[in-house]
Subunit: 201 residues, 2 copies
DNA sequence: AGGCTAAGTTAGTTGTCCTAATCAGTTAAT
DNA sequence: ATTAACTGATTAGGACAACTAACTTAGCCT
């Protein structure tokens, strides 16, 4: 049998493999925490994720095509979920002004209530992270954000909203800089999901 | 609307929140990479995960009850998946000697072939991690393993196979030590999934 | 022996997620 | 300006994941 990061007997030899295995465990945490909230609210994981995403992102990102890209599923999958959420009266459709085939999704009051109840599903994880010192958190974040940037560069993550891929981002003499805020960026200022993101040419 | 790690406008203020958001992105990578392999092999993500797990773990962990705990799903879910995998002739059932209600699952030759083809699904992620220096990887792993240990202590992750929770593990004067290997453990020696793991009393 | 617990299955339901096909509107190109 | 190509969204059909509830059978315990 080939080597693999999931082979405990081989895993030990490779540090990067052990990091992958650690990430896998943390992924499982997301799954578990999300399901917990899902059961409480009578919704499915993807339904909750959609509601949370819609709550915190502008209308230009809240249509079927973009949501499909965002969650790495096909459009019919999003279309199905939206049908259900509409039926449950948690979201509303607003026709697009520029394209009559398209529409934007917004939350209803009931939808906002659900978001308030569920958006904190990652809190138990956050609590453990807070146990690390600020210095540790800073280096951890710096390493994670560099991994994520690479993943985006390599098309493994399709959605781009980090500073590194933004048109307002520049890096001179190792110093990251945001041309929109017109200020240098420390490691901890780098954003994973920047509201002002605009893709670079 | 309440604060949330998924709110890009608020996210910036909290370092731990940004780390959570980063973990969320990396979780998505697992999902994407696994689906890719799934489509190629004509199996579903959970089916592949089951096969990989069975390939690298002893018979005592390869029964319905444990697999359900391992993947944080109910027994019927595992039972269903096993039915399908058996039907596809990728696994075999071996009756348990100690308990006639139970059985152990093993891979068929066809199952092993699939594992060889799919177990490397995390490779693109591993490749990015390898771009970090060994020092960076060491501190990253140390921080990840401490987070994971805390998550297990707090029952958020139900399955325990890290050194920290093992009966053979001890820590004297900040020096981790394995009483089975009878040797001190450096940060990079800590195991996330140790084959010799035995729960401490 | 009787009652509790545990291993696994079955039945029934809801919803995810896919592919393929369809419809309608937008854009580009001759 | 009209056709061709593309794109946004939906529908249809199917495999399967995930749940709960109820059941069967076997082990355990006092």
């Amino acid at each position: 049998m080939k080597n693999s990061v999931f082979n405990p007997s081989q895993q030990q030899k490779s540090l990067s493999g052990k990091i992958v295995a650690s990430f896998e465990r943390i992924s499982e945490v997301f799954k578990v925490l999300l399901w917990e909230k899902a059961k409480l609210s009578g919704l499915s994981p993807i339904q909750i994720q959609l509601l949370i995403f819609i709550a915190y992102h502008g209308p230009e990102l809240c249509n079927v095509s973009h949501l499909a890209k965002e969650f790495n599923v096909t459009k019919p999958t999003i279309s199905d979920a939206i049908k259900i959420l509409t039926h449950k009266a948690l979201i509303e459709k607003f026709p697009s002004v520029s394209d009559s085939r398209s529409y934007t999704i917004g939350l209803t009051e009931a939808g906002k209530t659900i978001v308030n109840e569920t958006a904190g599903f990652t809190q138990p994880l956050e609590k453990q992270i807070e146990k690390l010192s600020i210095t540790e958190q800073t280096t951890l974040f710096s390493q994670l954000s560099s991994i994520i940037f690479e993943l985006q560069q390599n098309q493994i993550l399709s959605v781009q909203r980090t500073c590194y891929g933004c048109r307002y981002f520049s890096q001179q003499n190792e110093q990251p800089f945001c041309k929109l805020l017109n200020s240098p960026l420390a490691q901890q200022d780098i954003r994973i999901d920047c509201p002002e993101f605009e893709a670079s040419a």
